[in-house]
């Protein structure tokens, strides 16, 4: 029987909830084509799987344990070996720099092509999967079909958590099997020498895990310098409300809200943002929200998990200091 594989990276919590949209889409394709489906969870020493959480998700998984990190080269080789003689017809990833790299490497190993950043799919009249992707800067939509399998596709999907459709899985207590990476033979040709944290003003907000956002209450461009320190301390990126963008305190590509971008980070820190409905629509899917605003009646406090009714100029530097102290303590331990 033909098989659809979904390759997902284990989240820092040890589960696969961040990829629920990808899992659901792959399940949808498998059901429509009458194929079986399988989920491959990539686990690394820094992101180990929580088997209980995986079983709870109700999806049958194979955990691919990468002992020495999941570099694209090594991971593609491991997936290729894991696939072995399986009748693999389609491999689905959620698009990211990491996933696109792995997908293209896997496609090269399988002597096929990869389609990256697809937006959706449909069934053709002949009953084949046709993948749709935006091209020419979003001006046109291209429909693509693979001449011969296997098809390697990455989908540009959001990370908003939705219930995972259980499809053909066995229910609440799903099977979790482990497969160890056999070797790391390619290290001599390609070697990672380390990863450095980027500038919070260079990372895109679309997929950010942690966002520090400022609004009218920040008072000026120099206020965003204070927020930048917090973003650096948290390892996050920066965003702004429409007012902050209109006043050119921060770039338009960083605007959150109905006329900007919709974000769904794990942590959203709103500083000096009143919380108009237009802004809230852009950040309502955040896992956790901290609001810092001197106005006790500001609507942003209503959607916050933790409220601080004080001036950001006082709280943010103190918070940055506390974060550095926390890191230093952890390093000593």
């Amino acid at each position: 029987m033909n098989c659809v594989w979904t390759v997902v990276e284990c989240s820092s919590r040890g589960d696969i909830e961040d990829d629920s949209a990808t899992l659901n889409l792959a399940q949808d394709i498998a059901s429509s084509l009458g194929w079986s489906s399988k989920v491959v969870v990539v686990s690394t020493p820094t992101r180990p799987v929580d088997e209980e959480l995986l079983r709870g998700s109700g999806v049958d998984c194979t955990v691919l344990e990468m002992r020495s990190g999941a570099s694209g080269d090594r991971l593609a080789g491991s997936i290729f070996r894991l696939a072995g003689k399986a009748n693999l017809e389609l491999v689905v990833f959620r698009s990211s720099v990491w996933a696109d790299d792995v997908a293209c490497r896997l496609a090269a190993l399988l002597k096929t092509s990869a389609l990256t950043r697809c937006s959706s799919w449909r069934l053709s009249n002949e009953g084949k999967a046709v993948f749709l992707r935006f091209v020419l800067g979003g001006a046109a939509v291209q429909e693509c079909e693979f001449r011969l399998g296997p098809c390697i596709v990455t989908f540009a999907l959001d990370r908003a958590r939705k219930p995972i459709e259980r499809g053909r899985s066995r229910g609440i207590s799903a099977a979790v099997e482990c497969w160890n990476e056999p070797s790391a033979a390619d290290d001599t040709l390609l070697r990672s020498c380390g990863i450095a944290t980027g500038d919070p003003l260079e990372a895109a907000i679309d997929d950010a895990d942690i966002i520090v956002a400022g609004g009218r209450g920040i008072g000026g461009e120099e206020g965003f310098g204070v927020l930048r320190e917090l973003a650096l301390a948290l390892g996050g990126t920066m965003a702004g409300s429409r007012i902050a963008v209109d006043k050119k305190w921060i770039g338009r590509e960083r605007q959150v809200g109905q006329t900007g971008k919709t974000v769904h980070p794990r942590l959203y820190v709103a500083c000096g943002i009143s919380g108009s409905s237009h802004h809230i629509l852009g950040m309502k899917d955040s896992d956790a929200v901290v609001s810092i605003n001197t106005d006790q009646a500001a609507p942003i406090h209503r959607v916050a998990d933790v409220r601080v009714v004080q001036d950001y100029r006082v709280i943010v530097p103190a918070l940055v200091h506390a974060l550095h102290e926390h890191r230093a303590r952890n390093r000593q331990q």
């Binding site: 293209c104 090269a108 096929t112 291209q142 070697r191 020498c193 500038d199 998990d305």
Partner: protein, 282 residues
Amino acid sequence: MKVCTLVRPGLPEDATVRIIDSGRLDFSGASPVATRSDLSALELALTWREREEVYTVVSCAIGDETIDDLLHLALSMGADEVVRVSAPCSYGNPELTAAAFARVVQDSGAQVVLCGHECDFDSTGMLAYSIAARLQWPVVTGIVEVEHRPGELRVLRRLEQGALETVAVRLPAVVAVCESVAAARYVGRAALARARRQPVPVWTMAASEAAGGIRGVESMGMTYARPLPADIDAPDEGLPALERLEHVISAGVGAREGRLLEGEPEEISARLVGVIGEWLGW
């Protein structure tokens, strides 16, 4: 040492692209220009040659004579050799482009392949991987900085969240760069006119050779992208006016726990670090 670069055609910024009945792109009114990230790759190779780290820079384009101008541009920028592969390759087919380009690299004896990560007609980013697979070389993509060291390259690769990964790649290697890796030099009209007087060597690739063993992707057609409908949140008409007003003000988002932290800034910060640590699993 030889470096091989690829110059692919792209569309000028003001080009009008139409989709004709068959679902194919019609850009007949626009003359192709060189892809900017490919020119950045060429610029990087030329910088290495000026520092005497490499000796020869070869530039290659694939297509018919309409793209000779791209190779004239490469010559005027300073490329030592150019070659056009006359292959039945359609714009945006990375497999056919890779097959033709890999042959040029093998024939030229180059040790480094430099090209742009993506181009207008192929935004999958697959090309560099396909070339590397054919040459059996290591490949790195999305590169923003390259340092040439004896026997290897040290490259800086942009990841998510603005993070940068340093990767060491043993030579020979395929490197796909971003436009920001180097700004292509300005070429004057006189240099371009001189380059145009030079003949462009043409190497013909048989259709069977180009298509051999390729399983890739086929474009079924194009449609204009329709704007997505805005996410409109409207209250239920049956609700009382006050509740509808509340719904509009809150954008339909339910209130959260809203735990209030009070006290001195240091005290609040310490508690905030604890709460954030719990959320993020520190």
